[in-house]
Symmetry: C2
Subunit: 199 residues, 2 copies
């Protein structure tokens, strides 16, 4: 199909959404312009406002429109326990799934020397600052279970040790509801090594 | 998770996209606000511009930013053959898949008396006007192969007959690559009735 002017441009721009290819983008564009014009306008305006207003929390680096995010500014949260995650999305996931009542620190990535991502790019200086203020007693490393995530966790655990902060790593093993037959050997070997006493 | 202000609002508004639930919307919002701010801004602005500028073609009722869409305004197209489809998306699909070189007419729906959609809601008066101008010699009915789509096709075929316009319906049958074993009986019975001479 030849260039469709504004419609083609809209479809091309919708393709920048994660998981959206040309076909889905086309469907989206048609729906936005047919039944949903009011919703579409609201979406566009909210997006512009969000791009303008939402920045990073000064303390934990998650996305927020305030100076401190709603988690860091909650006085009921235990500021001495820190959960370290790779992305702002992980903050949501951990907060929704667990009863964790401490605060977070967002790395915005993982150590990956080949891509030029070292300790400085992850804001580990800011983390070390938080350690050296002496308020943090414990960190929980909740980076992803990938090679880079593991390496990042080890690096930060060493950093924590230097400042006498206790560091723990979230458990790896068979996911709940998982059947051994279908689990990869890496996970199973992890699950064996990390076995816990029963009763 | 409690209300997240602007971020929560953005996620709620992204849910109005077709096929996007809360989880995908969340992932989209985070990606738009992290790596993709420039693309996100462009998307929002294009969307606003599209909402403002894109209307319906005066002749065929498809989406366009001009008075006449790029298909109706092409002089190389045969204006005496009309393909009738349910939605602007179908115009794209037919134009991409076939060698059709006539023009289109978009119904924006199908006859559905239970939902209060009658001939007037589908702009069939406009279609009849086009018929009575005497320029149209043939119509190809490419409404969906649903009960309502079929009924709409029959209704329009009757209308065409009144104006001595030849009407044909796209073929229904076994899709290319389809195996008989897995085809539903309605389609198979259609395929039998609609069999064509070979050689």
């Amino acid at each position: 199909m030849q260039d469709q002017g504004l419609l083609g441009e809209l479809i091309k721009n919708l393709c920048c959404l994660p998981g959206i290819g040309p076909k889905s983008a086309q469907r989206m564009a048609f729906q936005l312009l047919q039944g949903e014009r009011l919703g579409a306008e609201k979406l566009a305006n909210t997006l512009l406002k969000a791009i303008e207003k939402i920045g990073y929390c000064q303390q934990c680096r998650t996305l927020t429109e305030e100076v401190l995010c709603h988690i860091c500014s909650q006085t009921s949260r235990d500021q001495s326990v820190l959960c370290i995650v790779e992305s702002p999305a992980d903050v949501w996931v951990v907060d929704q799934a667990t009863l964790f009542k401490g605060v977070y620190h967002v790395l915005h990535g993982r150590l990956s020397p080949l891509d030029g991502i070292g300790p400085d790019e992850l804001g580990l200086d800011l983390l070390e600052q938080r350690f050296s203020q002496g308020k943090i007693k414990e960190i929980i490393l909740a980076t992803n279970a990938t090679v880079e995530g593991e390496a990042t966790a080890y690096f930060i655990a060493e950093l924590a040790k230097k400042h006498q902060v206790q560091a723990s790593r979230i458990a790896h093993g068979v996911p709940m509801g998982g059947e051994l037959e279908f689990i990869d050997s890496g996970t199973l070997s992890h699950a064996f090594k990390g076995r816990n006493d029963m009763i």
